[in-house]
């Protein structure tokens, strides 16, 4: 097996068993990046020297039997809105050119403390909004990988890194993961610290994870999750052993949200329905569920909340550098400056009402299920339709995508599973069960 194809958990195991050197693993990934990233353009910055230094240190420690944690010697990438001490962090924006933070985002620091090696920074749309990154979809170079976490999805799919951080405010982690044939998780709001992640919308920004298996996501979440006293939105809820939860996988009770199938393109609806039939034949208890009344207003509420909060988050920088902002983010900020405060607060009230209604619905199921996206990855630069992620971003409920097949043109599709707040353990368990039945996505040919 080529080393660049190793999943995170397999690499970690091989390093611990001393059959794999972190130095060899880093070199294999750097060679892979050198060979293919000219076409994919997933990386904003590759820290070759830093990663090699960290790999040599990890190898020395492993030789002595000293392991920092469960990801000892395993490389990861982070979207270029995560602070990384000593490494440029530019958020895909000329307004951030040359910015070098002096500390790591908490999520990056936690992975490093567990032994993982930050290989570099991954392309993002400007400030994680709509102005696209240069990144291409490894499954078809004429298609978007989705966004805003464009580089994270493309790099993991193209076997340039086994595990990456993205973020999701509207639909930016789960959607690109699906477009690229990956597993992608957006945990409950507050589950993973957002300290050191350049904000877009304070009350809707989520750190996300992308990998090629549910097991790698569970491992990454186990490390990244947990309370951060420096993040006012960080939850104090205890962090379960998410890997242990995978050993309890069983056929889930599924609420099928038919209205999402009706809004999907026919090939997406058909392929996803076939996947649902396979899950049912394997024992999943599937019944139709209906979104609650406030669903009708969530897109509008999300628009009002994100624009208002984006305007606030960018106020000082925008006042100085408006001309350096690209058109999408610039108009978002300008509209956010104009939205009246009473409407912003009303949108927050709508959000709470929706979350309460969703919590009641979710009491009846282990997970809700939708197609992850209305279409496969579109051609061109625009990053695609996030509408199937909006309800879970605005309500802060955890969601995950698992690959479920390919279109006739060879583009990946996924099923999206949603659970109650802080119910990541049963969500991951259900996702792993679905992954067992549906099979893992193959690799794109590059």
């Amino acid at each position: 097996m080529s080393l660049h194809t190793l999943d995170a958990i397999d690499a970690a195991r091989a390093i611990r068993e001393k059959v794999l050197s972190p130095v060899d693993l880093i070199e294999a990934l750097l060679e892979r990046i050198e060979r293919i990233d000219g076409r994919i353009q997933a990386w904003a910055l590759v820290d070759r020297d830093g990663a090699r230094r960290a790999a040599r240190q990890a190898a020395d420690e492993a030789a002595r039997g000293a392991f920092r944690g469960p990801l000892h010697g395993v490389p990861f990438g982070a979207k270029d809105i995560f602070y990384s001490a000593g490494l440029r962090t530019e958020a895909g924006s000329k307004a951030m050119a040359g910015f070098v933070p002096d500390y790591d985002a908490t999520s990056v620091a936690r992975l490093k403390a567990a032994g993982a090696i930050l290989l570099g920074k991954l392309q993002t749309t400007e400030f994680a909004t709509t102005d696209p990154a240069p990144t291409r979809n490894p499954w078809s170079l004429v298609c978007t990988p989705g966004g805003s976490s464009s580089g994270s999805a493309a790099a993991v799919a193209a076997r340039m890194i086994p595990l990456a951080f993205g973020t999701q405010t509207i639909g930016s982690n789960v959607r690109p993961a699906s477009y690229c044939g990956l597993v992608g998780l957006k945990a409950t709001f507050g589950r993973i610290s957002t300290r050191g992640v350049i904000p877009l919308s304070y009350t809707q920004d989520h750190v996300g994870l992308m990998a090629r298996s549910v097991e790698d996501i569970a491992l990454g979440l186990s490390i990244a999750a947990g309370h951060d006293p420096d993040d006012p939105s960080s939850s104090r809820a205890p962090v379960p052993d998410y890997l242990a939860a995978l050993t309890r996988r069983r056929a889930p009770r599924v609420g099928l949200l038919r209205e999402f199938f009706e809004r999907a393109a026919s090939d997406v609806a058909d392929i996803t329905a076939q996947a649902v039939n396979r899950l049912a034949r394997a024992g999943a208890d599937i019944e139709e569920a209906k979104m609650p009344p406030t669903f009708r207003a969530v897109a509008a509420a999300a628009y009002v909340i994100t624009r208002s909060e984006t305007a606030s988050a960018h106020a000082e920088r925008f006042a100085l550098k408006a001309d350096l902002y690209r058109p999408g983010i610039r108009s978002s900020i300008e509209m956010g400056m104009l939205i009246p405060g009473d409407l912003y607060v009303r949108a927050l009230r709508i959000r709470r009402q929706f979350r309460r209604e969703m919590s009641l619905l979710l009491e009846r199921y282990d997970v809700l299920l939708t197609p992850t996206t209305p279409t496969p990855a579109p051609e061109g630069m625009a990053t695609g339709d996030p509408s199937f992620q909006v309800p879970w971003s605005i309500s802060g409920l955890p969601s995950i995508t698992v690959p479920c097949g390919l279109t006739t043109s060879g583009l990946p599709l996924g099923i999206q599973l949603v659970s109650g707040a802080y119910a990541e353990a049963p969500l991951l368990s259900a996702a792993a069960w679905c992954e067992d039945i549906l099979g893992r996505a193959s690799a794109p040919s590059l």
Partner: protein
């Protein structure tokens, strides 16, 4: 006021505010965005939300 009237009122208000804040030329460039925003604002303003429903700032109660 009916829904379309509310939307038109928001659009006019946003257009005037954009002209004051960003200038007439930029307000003109934002015209399509203003129309979209007026639609979203109308939905938020008219959707029934419980009178005792407070906003959620940051975390709901942890489990």
């Amino acid at each position: 006021m009916d829904r379309e009237g509310r939307r038109a009122e928001y659009a006019a208000w946003l257009r005037a505010a954009a002209e004051r804040r960003f200038g007439a030329a930029r307000a003109q460039e934002l015209d399509k965005t203003i129309e979209d925003a007026a639609g979203w604002m109308t939905e938020v303003a008219t959707f029934p939300v419980g009178t005792d429903e407070p906003p959620a700032f940051y975390l709901e109660a942890d489990p």
